[in-house]
């Protein structure tokens, strides 16, 4: 079964601190995504990647960086965390070709205090 694993599952960070959210997939998918989910906004795309070494901006990239060092791993980096970045973050992976199914991890709950 397709597997996307996120770590940590919960994180409390201080304002101005650096936060790294990690994602690992064993699906051998080229495409990976980071979304955030907030009440009233649904899922919003932050960054995505088409493969190792590539990162692209999604709808709301400001304040976030992404890193794709390998096919399996995709990280989301908050260099200077702010309380407005308190949210639930989901990583997902998907294959190439249309249509394709996107598989999500279980999410990371981030609280910035």
């Amino acid at each position: 079964e397709a597997a996307v694993t996120q770590s940590p599952r919960n994180k409390v960070a201080v304002t101005g601190g650096k936060v790294t959210l990690s994602c690992n997939q064993t699906n051998n998918h080229n495409n990976m995504y980071w979304y955030r989910q907030d009440t009233g906004h649904g899922l919003r795309l932050i960054h995505y990647s088409y493969g190792a070494g590539s990162t692209e901006k999604g709808d709301i990239p400001d304040g976030y960086k992404a890193s794709r060092p390998s096919q399996e791993n995709f990280s989301l980096i908050l260099e200077l965390a702010t309380p407005s970045q308190t949210s639930v973050y989901f990583c997902a992976s998907g294959g190439q070709g249309a249509p394709t199914e996107v598989f999500f991890g279980k999410g990371t709950r981030l609280t910035v205090v």
């Binding site: 996307v4 495409n31 995504y33 979304y35 009440t39 009233g40 906004h41 649904g42 899922l43 919003r44 795309l45 995505y48 088409y50 999604g58 709808d59 989901f90 997902a92 998907g94 190439q96 249309a98 249509p99 394709t100 199914e101 996107v102 999500f104 991890g105 279980k106 999410g107």
Partner: protein
């Protein structure tokens, strides 16, 4: 954003009733995906419908797509308590960029 500005909708129905959820999108898509999200978990695909299909069925689920009005619907027949979840539609422009609507929270009451 790919989607209209509707807020997250909430529906509450009795077990055994039928329910239809709608969404609209702004730009071209090759396929509409419908995902469900259970509390505390990530979304999971339940049905998808391609741009050349008007209707797709899977068990008690029925999805429709009207590309002329850029809208899609998901119907659940004879809803059961385990159908309680948040349902999202998502578009795929063909570049594997998935854009999700704000979702519909469905509660099925026994």
């Amino acid at each position: 954003s790919q989607w209209g500005e509707e807020n997250l909708q909430a529906l509450s129905i009795q077990e055994g009733e039928d329910v239809t959820m709608n969404c609209s999108y702004k730009t071209y898509t090759t396929v509409v995906h419908w995902y469900r999200q259970d509390s505390g978990r990530g979304p999971a695909l339940i049905i998808l419908i391609r741009s050349n299909e008007r209707e797709k069925r899977s068990g008690r689920l029925r999805a429709t797509l009207d590309t002329s009005s850029q809208s899609s619907s998901l119907s659940i027949t004879a809803a059961q308590c385990e159908d309680t979840a948040v349902y999202f539609c998502a578009t795929d422009t063909g570049y594997q960029n998935f854009y999700f609507g704000k979702g519909t929270s469905l509660t099925v009451i026994p």
